[in-house]
Symmetry: none
Subunit: 423 residues, 2 copies
Amino acid sequence: MTQAAICTIGDEILIGQIVDTNSSHISRALNSLGIRVRTHQSIGDDNFQIISSLDALLKENQIVIVTGGLGPTKDDITKKALAQLSGAKTVKTDQRQLEIVHRILSARGLDMLEINRAQADVPDTCEVIPNKLGTAPIMVFRFPAERFGHKAVLYSMPGVPFETIAALDDVLEDIKAHFDISDIFHYTLNTFGMAESALSRKIASWEDSLDEDMHLAYLPNPLSGVRLRLSIYGGERSHQEERAMERIRELKEILGKELYYEGDSLAENIGKMLLESGKTVSAAESCTGGLISALFTQVAGCSSYYLGSVTSYANSVKTGVLGVDASVIESKGAVSEECVRQMAAGVRRLTGSDFAVATSGIAGPGGGTKDKPVGLVWIGISSERGTNAVKMEFKSDRKHNIERFAANALNELRKLITKELNY
Amino acid sequence: MTQAAICTIGDEILIGQIVDTNSSHISRALNSLGIRVRTHQSIGDDNFQIISSLDALLKENQIVIVTGGLGPTKDDITKKALAQLSGAKTVKTDQRQLEIVHRILSARGLDMLEINRAQADVPDTCEVIPNKLGTAPIMVFRFPAERFGHKAVLYSMPGVPFETIAALDDVLEDIKAHFDISDIFHYTLNTFGMAESALSRKIASWEDSLDEDMHLAYLPNPLSGVRLRLSIYGGERSHQEERAMERIRELKEILGKELYYEGDSLAENIGKMLLESGKTVSAAESCTGGLISALFTQVAGCSSYYLGSVTSYANSVKTGVLGVDASVIESKGAVSEECVRQMAAGVRRLTGSDFAVATSGIAGPGGGTKDKPVGLVWIGISSERGTNAVKMEFKSDRKHNIERFAANALNELRKLITKELNY
């Protein structure tokens, strides 16, 4: 089995200023290709350490993916270290990358400086894959078997996560072209509403019945629920797919429509149903503060069904814009069933949408009471058939409470739409 | 200077199922003690790999902190590997940890099984720091100078993040008691509105004039701009701080208030000014779809100054809720100076806020034209002194265009408030 290591470079990682998410992202991609990731390493912007660490990683792995340290400023030295490691004699300019640098700068209305131009210069020992979203190219160093005891390839990628993610597809293509990789088939089904341990108990006998070459992974995510990934290793693609889909049909039967959904996210699943049926939706958010709206609008094409939202953080906006009765807020409080029902109905009336969802809760850290603790949320859902509300409680910090409130509100909306539109 | 390495153990990290946040957290804590973290490494639950990696890390560092692989099930083998690495002859039971295991199980209403009891057993080569929140104790292995060429200590901590964080204080106390620690001082200044390369040219002569023990790093982030981090290694804390602040004063002078801001994020910077002056803000979002609102509400305590927002994705919401003239949308389009000015003024009137910000643009991937391409955004800002609008253009994918639109809108608002409130 092909083995890989991931090395992220940057002092900001070692002082704990940022969390390294690239390693996790790249690992998932390599694993799905059937490549085993043996180690992650993070090191500083230090020439000696970069060279000695990469040398050690190349001795033990056929593939080493490096991210970071490619900026135009003086503190970034990865390119210089790679030139030394690979025994480069000179630099060459990559014309395709130079054009991209030029395009990026002119789009921002900036002049091309010498340090920008130098971004397209690479050691003569590497091949270049252009980086379409940033100025630093992807460099590919291929080492012959004599050097490390086996053929080895080092990919140097930009470290800014969105550039890394965008560049990864090209790197994976190169890996597929140069390494002998057996097929792995993955199918992912999203679930929502059950914790990992409870879910695993519910599907235990189905999981036990899986064939030897099948593997099930649980991937919990606060914004989308627990994803179940069924993988089949080896065998022919078409046959793998047929066998996987038969198992997935059984799994769906066990879970029932309340617990699983198709599509990459709850917002995408909702969007697809609305688009097909020509219906529309809106949102009224208090404690989720715009996150539900941001999740809707992450989906391209959402303008066909998503009309908009009101973030009614202040009570004056709840009463003045959404039409919540001031007496309700006075007697029951803003975090109450009555208030969230009026918010949902109010935003549906205000925007003229077919469906609406609303949230009012206490994200924390402050603001909780004994009766209404931090983590409490009321979720309202409204359609022309009526308005309903549910209460939930979570125990997390501000950021994660907000995420759980928003995800559960979208899930309640998904269940309502699934039922009313007969999905 | 004392050097440290952090090693996280677990297959779930290497398949990308979880992001390792422990390393970042521990790094911050060690850096603030003046200990330089040289490397992070993540490896699998594999006896040979654990022993060989830790052996290599102990040769290069005086402190090695290990997290993970301490669960009661068979796949967790860190304790066994550490027994082998340290040449343990037998196991001993730590009575304090055994009592904690007992207490945790009875609180959950569970019986004590043999695998639970074994959690309190440790190699006879280590000292124990009890783990108050979990069943696996913290193990401290002290190696004499003969073993690795210098005195070295290995701390093995639980890998569940909340247990790691809770246990870290005790580990830091032990480190302070056993190592001679010098200081590192970091100061971070946020900038916004200038690309990394242009910024580096603007401050080049200042950067060149920094003393030998000072290091400057550029940390770009689409949502907050380019952070500049000045670090001073060695020397006394109070003197470091004084020298750093003198240099930061010079840097601020060069940049000017338009280009830098204090606080962790633009939303936090704006929040602080509003809070101090008792003023309020609201937002009207089209293309940013709720992200500006979500950024405001990430800041705890924002309810004192953030009233709310309208996400007017559909034109009917722009006219019906925000009061934009239908004739403006018909003649100029929704992505126009006139529309975004009316959106900003409209939401300020609707919510009664002192300040307001509005966005209308084309995030893509579809919807662009020659005159109004994907990446174009109009940003409106409004106060009682009047309403203004600026146009910007970016070239990225949907997600990152939305992020840049939102960040630049917050930055325009920041500049307006800084000026009007005399900050």
